[in-house]
Symmetry: C2
Subunit: 342 residues, 2 copies
């Protein structure tokens, strides 16, 4: 648009067109978990299938942003694609608990209103991210757990599904392997806790998430997961914890985390990144790198985050061999990656 | 100690005595909840009884600090006194859920190691703060919920008690009143959520907590609660959420919060106060006042916090008519207060 066109719009009082004409930035980033994700572990076909699903989730959300829809819609839509895919540890394809079930956690946050919703330990909700959003919009609470969260779902007209819907042979195999390792370790340590701590990284991670900036300048973040393989005792990780796994604030940034959840809770990872941006004036790249590489990596806090700020910048740091991720913005083309240095 | 005595200690290599001789600061602050706590609501005897219990909790914890015990011990001991008292909404005297039971939440954090533990929705644990501490020290997790947390307790040799142990006629009366109000409001709104939101403040608050600095310079924070009267759907408030209701970091401060939990989660209150201290170089007084009065009060986020820093400074801001509170440090005498401007 040239100056003449701009003057004309202003003269005609066509402010809504003007808002569109200024081409407000939009941005979307998604992740499908971080961990020991190495090229040698994939057949070319498998790798292609993962990339295809990431691309589909990204495009589904990005299209909504292009249509001028809220960042909350884009985040929800992208996460639903990832929850419905058996490849990722959320919704269908979620890992198994020690008792052979699936317990799902999710959370979502609106950067404009700072409203948030979360569910922990739900077993019969097909898309936990949509229930987290209902907790945000249709309840007076932020976090609901277990059967109580399912009663709320029922009251809201959300269908309850069979827990077996989330079954996949791949994850069941992982449970058997994890239990075998736990059993062996127990002979040495006599301690379930120590044995679980010693499990390889791939049993303890896996999450999906999305962060977005919409045309109105509003940020949103969401996260969904099945948690740790062979988890027990109603363990809650960082994914449903606002401030740990998910955070959004229009004044700084939107963050979704994936990794060894206990570390992400103890270090309030998502809100700490936003605090460094808000209070220290750091870029999201610097703030994210500091927390992931300087704070978490030295103490063994493996994982990563995706971050979007209100200018549409995107950063996706991780300290593991790989992280399923994809991004797109007004100023950067579609990017889909799995391994380091792609 | 004069210069001559100091020289003598150094000459004799009596460094351990020297450490004691430097008189490292210690500090303890406790709270028993914030809310519509006004003088007119108490008989002189009742007021005296509340003050007496606060004093007892403070002295129990402070004595441990004087003996050189860790801040975690002081926090735990002070909270146990408050949990065991029927006056406060934690342990015995906890509010009732909508279904007429008690569901208890607690969390604790060590400012030195940044280790943390939390339990949510436990029904049969006499002192939830001690189970939160066991989650921290004897599990690989940070947060356990519901029956799973109780299975962990059993495995750890913690006795399970009858939920009726927490009953008090005063709180049962509050449940009946709350349900009556909910029922009336429902006729207008047809909406349980809106009705619950409209409940007076006193039904939605009440928590106990403690923050401490020990002789080694280590900070700790802990919080315990029965949550909101007539809560449903497995609602989780801020008390078991590290970063929201509880946070401790030796580099900045230790915080325990009390108030309308949903706001405290959305604004990551405890970790935000520590972030303002760490990243903006603010005093705990300034950081606490900003969050309680400038951030939370304008949006209706009622409540308060207690804060201790590594120099032994104490701050206890709240935006409600009153907050049960008490404090003592190396440089400040015993202080017990309930109402504003005491």
């Amino acid at each position: 648009m040239n100056k003449k066109q701009l003057s004309l719009l202003i003269a005609l009082g066509m402010t809504s067109q003007l808002v569109q004409a200024t081409e407000a930035p939009i941005a979307l980033a998604i992740h499908g978990g971080a961990g020991t994700i190495e090229k040698a572990k994939f057949t070319p076909e498998q790798e292609q299938a993962y990339r295809q699903t990431l691309k589909q989730a990204l495009e589904t959300g990005y299209q909504l942003l292009e249509e001028g829809k809220p960042s909350l819609d884009a985040v929800t839509a992208a996460i639903i694609v990832l929850e419905n895919s058996p490849f990722f540890n959320a919704g269908k394809g979620a890992v198994y608990t020690f008792d052979g079930e699936h317990e799902l956690d999710a959370s979502i946050m609106d950067g404009q209103s700072r409203q948030a919703g979360a569910v922990a330990g739900v077993k019969r909700i097909e898309n936990p991210i949509t229930l987290a959003r209902k907790v945000m919009t249709d309840s007076v609470h932020v976090m609901l757990s277990g059967e109580g969260a399912e009663s709320f779902a029922k009251q809201q007209g959300v269908a309850l599904v069979d827990n077996k819907l989330f079954d996949t042979p791949f994850r069941y195999d992982a449970l058997l392997k994890a239990k075998e390792k736990l059993e062996k370790a127990k002979n040495h340590t006599k301690d379930y806790q120590a044995a679980h701590f010693a499990l390889p990284m791939e049993f303890k991670m896996g999450t999906v998430g999305a962060v977005a900036l919409d045309k109105l300048g509003n940020l949103a973040a969401g996260t969904s997961t099945g948690g740790m393989t062979a988890k027990r005792f109603g363990r809650v990780g960082d994914s449903p914890i606002i401030g740990a796994g998910t955070f959004a604030d229009n004044r700084s940034c939107a963050v979704s985390a994936t990794g060894h959840g206990e570390y992400f809770i103890r270090y309030s990872v998502a809100s700490d990144i936003c605090a460094r941006v808000a209070y220290q004036g750091k870029s999201i790249e610097k703030a994210g790198n500091e927390v992931i590489h300087d704070v978490l990596a030295p103490i063994g806090g493996t994982g990563g985050v995706i971050i979007v700020d209100s200018k549409g910048n995107i950063s996706m740091p991780f300290n593991t061999p790989g992280m399923y991720r994809a991004s797109k913005s007004s100023t950067s083309p579609t990017y889909v990656a799995i391994f380091k240095e792609e």
